[in-house]
Subunit: 473 residues, 2 copies
């Protein structure tokens, strides 16, 4: 008689082996983070180099975890750009922190899928609760709480939140005007994040207007009024306005109140992309940038940028949840359940495009409790203070010129000798290996973008960066 095949070893489901392997990986992760400062921010690697280290075929039989762990050092780390490096001044930060990593581990281990309240009540209720906490911490309108007419939901990212808002705007505009999407117009700053343009494309808006900005790169309300008038003359229909609190190029802030009044008069959906700037609002001294929030229909910011929480974690608030749910609710029989039908619970599947959802609120909860609001304010204020110090030094250097105000912790500047000198300066900084900054361009002018905000950056790192800038300039 045939014997049943033995379970292959090592058995990937052996929980005691998991315990040992996880302990080993915890030590690896701790040592990785502790050792980051000694590595170059960007590992030198050519296209194809990582793949060349991998076997052509997937393994047929189980490999021991030691081999996998060893390959983190052999294959993965030498192919990384280290976003958590203390010398990370590029793009915006994608912050993680020890409490957030713990939250990710807990969520992965628990492994629930909170598409409905009923499919894990704690997932839904913790999410609602923590996002209501943030309403208070950021002092946004109380009506945005889930206990009011609005509510918060965790989206994968601000791109997704913005796209979702656009779809709701399109449906409301269609109901109101009967216009096809091809006739609808979305408006935003010519400084807006690429996700506005991408979102408009995904949504099928026929037109997007990238509006003129003032000297501080904030949208001129007159530019919006003029664009609307021209579009109306052409038989088009304004449907969506995207305002910005912290643009990607220079962290500019649009005048929310003036733009919001225009949007309201035109019955457009008014969405705020505060992906970067929103986290700063945990400190009251930045909240003047929020004037006019009562004229906003939806708002998004990313704790995964600057609130110490791992990707993916983006907050989306709506002032009124009904149009969102009306647009996105599709209920097949297998999702029907008594709790949903009671109307007493939130089913987050109706608040975003995907159905399935991981337990993202857990890491945000871990972060808020482990830092405390005061710990997060301290972090934000440190970054902003260091960025302003850097700006002062730039202002004091005759070869350099700042091109935008430092509202938050992003400093944008040029070399006065022109584009070539600016690009050479950025290249010098990045060639050093200790730091990574982003070269960019605005109105044909090349500039250097320094975003202070890695979890692990210290004042010493910013000082050392300045020394290098001064020497290179």
């Amino acid at each position: 008689m045939m014997q049943p095949k033995p379970v292959p070893t090592p058995d990937p489901l052996d929980l005691e082996a998991f315990r040992r392997n996880a302990h080993a990986l915890v030590d690896w992760v701790t040592d990785y983070l502790a050792g980051l400062g000694a590595r170059p921010v960007r590992e030198p690697v050519e296209p194809g180099e990582v793949r060349a280290k991998l076997p052509e075929d997937a393994p047929e039989l189980p490999e021991p975890f030691d081999a996998v762990l060893a390959d983190l050092d052999r294959v993965v780390v030498p192919g990384l750009t280290h976003w958590q490096h203390p010398g990370w001044f590029a793009f915006f930060p994608a912050q993680t922190s020890p409490p957030a990593v713990l939250g990710e581990l807990a969520a992965a281990g628990i492994g629930v899928q909170g598409m409905l309240w009923a499919t894990s009540p704690a997932s839904t209720e913790l999410e609602s609760h923590v996002l209501d906490w943030l309403v208070d911490l950021l002092d946004v309108p109380q009506s945005w709480k889930t206990t009011g007419p609005g509510g918060g939901v965790l989206q994968a990212g601000a791109s997704t939140a913005t796209h979702t808002a656009m779809v709701v705007a399109r449906e409301l505009c269609r109901e109101r005007t009967g216009a096809p999407a091809e006739k609808m117009v979305a408006y935003t700053s010519n400084q807006a994040h690429s996700s506005l343009e991408k979102g408009a494309k995904l949504t099928g808006f026929g037109h997007i207007r990238l509006l003129d900005v003032d000297a501080d790169f904030a949208v001129r309300p007159a530019a919006l009024t003029e664009a609307i008038e021209a579009d109306r003359r052409d038989g088009l229909v304004p449907a969506f306005l995207g305002s910005n609190v912290g643009t990607t190029g220079t962290a500019a802030v649009d005048p929310l109140r003036e733009l919001g009044e225009i949007a309201r008069a035109e019955q457009m959906w008014h969405h705020v992309d505060a992906a970067y700037g929103g986290s700063a609002m945990i400190c009251e001294e930045f909240r003047h940038h929020h004037d006019g929030l009562e004229l906003v229909d939806s708002y998004t910011f990313n704790p995964h940028k600057w609130l110490a929480t791992n990707l993916e974690c983006s907050v989306m608030w709506v002032a009124d949840r009904r149009p969102l749910i009306d647009t996105l609710s599709v209920v097949p029989p297998y999702l029907r359940n008594p709790a949903s039908e009671s109307g007493q619970v939130i089913d987050y599947r109706d608040w975003h495009a995907p159905l399935g959802r991981p337990f993202r609120a857990l890491k945000l909860w871990f972060v808020l409790r482990s830092f405390g609001a005061e710990g997060l304010r301290r972090m934000i204020r440190s970054h902003v203070g260091w960025a302003r110090g850097l700006a002062d030094r730039i202002d004091g250097n005759p070869r350099l010129e700042r091109i935008a105000p430092v509202h938050f912790a992003l400093v944008s500047f040029v070399h006065r000798d022109g584009n070539e000198a600016t690009d050479a300066l950025a290249a010098d900084i990045n060639a050093d290996g200790r730091f990574y900054v982003t070269p960019s361009e605005i109105d044909g002018r090349r500039f250097v973008r320094i975003s202070v905000g890695s979890t692990w950056t210290t004042k010493d790192d910013v000082d050392a960066l300045w020394d290098l800038i001064e020497a290179s300039a």
Copy 2:
């Protein structure tokens, strides 16, 4: 003189504290998984019960991790529906496994954001490589490899992949016909997942046709032809066909070749939603369901359903990557870089709607190596075998009637006494506490859906479930 404020304690950035806390959490996760079988699948919890345990305001000062960890037991676990429970037979599985949890921990600790090749080459190259491995493991067309004209990308979920495919379909249709989205039609089975309908809404398709199915719940090709003819007469434009390999209701499989030929003749984009069924294709005995894949433009399946990989992890393949990238590429100055401009690398930001992306390939790589292809085949075959055994027992019971073939590991059946008896049976099973099954409905007929596929389910669990069914029926 003022002294600087001391860092609050506990310091959330203390790495040695992280090491200790993470070790404690590893033990907690291991014990949670080991103890799951002794808990009810669904904790008894009323709406609002979880929130009532949480303080009204966020903490101002840092809390020790011990307090957070204790609240996993006090607040979180008693509010969970345990998707990883061995008695999980509801919906589809959302599988995790020890190697995948390790992969999540590693990705969270490394914390890179792979929107561009340049922002972490290992993230992009590992993803391409592992998805190319899967082309071989599932024996889908070789041209779907990233080394060919197509390629694979990890999406958050099948909903997202399907929506992305629809947007590409809409843009291609618009270019080809000039029709507005309102005139376009998407076609799929009346058994398709709700994400098809939701995706069509998000995309702005004016029409979706939910096609008639045969006795096995597979789309009748004639139904597609008839629908197209009627729509053409009405001046509408066929734009998208969604075929299914494993529908949500009964895991039905549509005839890909016949439908694909019609789609091709109509120049429609042909997308396959194999969210559930795709994983089974790692075993050759299921691949007859794949006949006709060369007539497919895009395909999605979820390792986070049935390939032992944590949420979120959904594979999307395209036969030709150019229309996908042409549709989704928006390149602002701050994302330009020499590697992208060389054309030698993949920038996955152009392959999906979001910009930012976590390092999802890591967990899939951990899983493929830790199980080996053979370990994954063994798991799939166990689940399918147990499901067929259950089906045989149902077929042998005069009170029960199976309503669909068992192509994979989903068994759908009714009580012969009618809807009330069927619902009562499902309620009995779920009231027991050891198991969770999904009551659903098809053509007005209530049925019980049993999806075998939890990572931790054993034959004994399936036998015990049968004993309960038999006793309750």
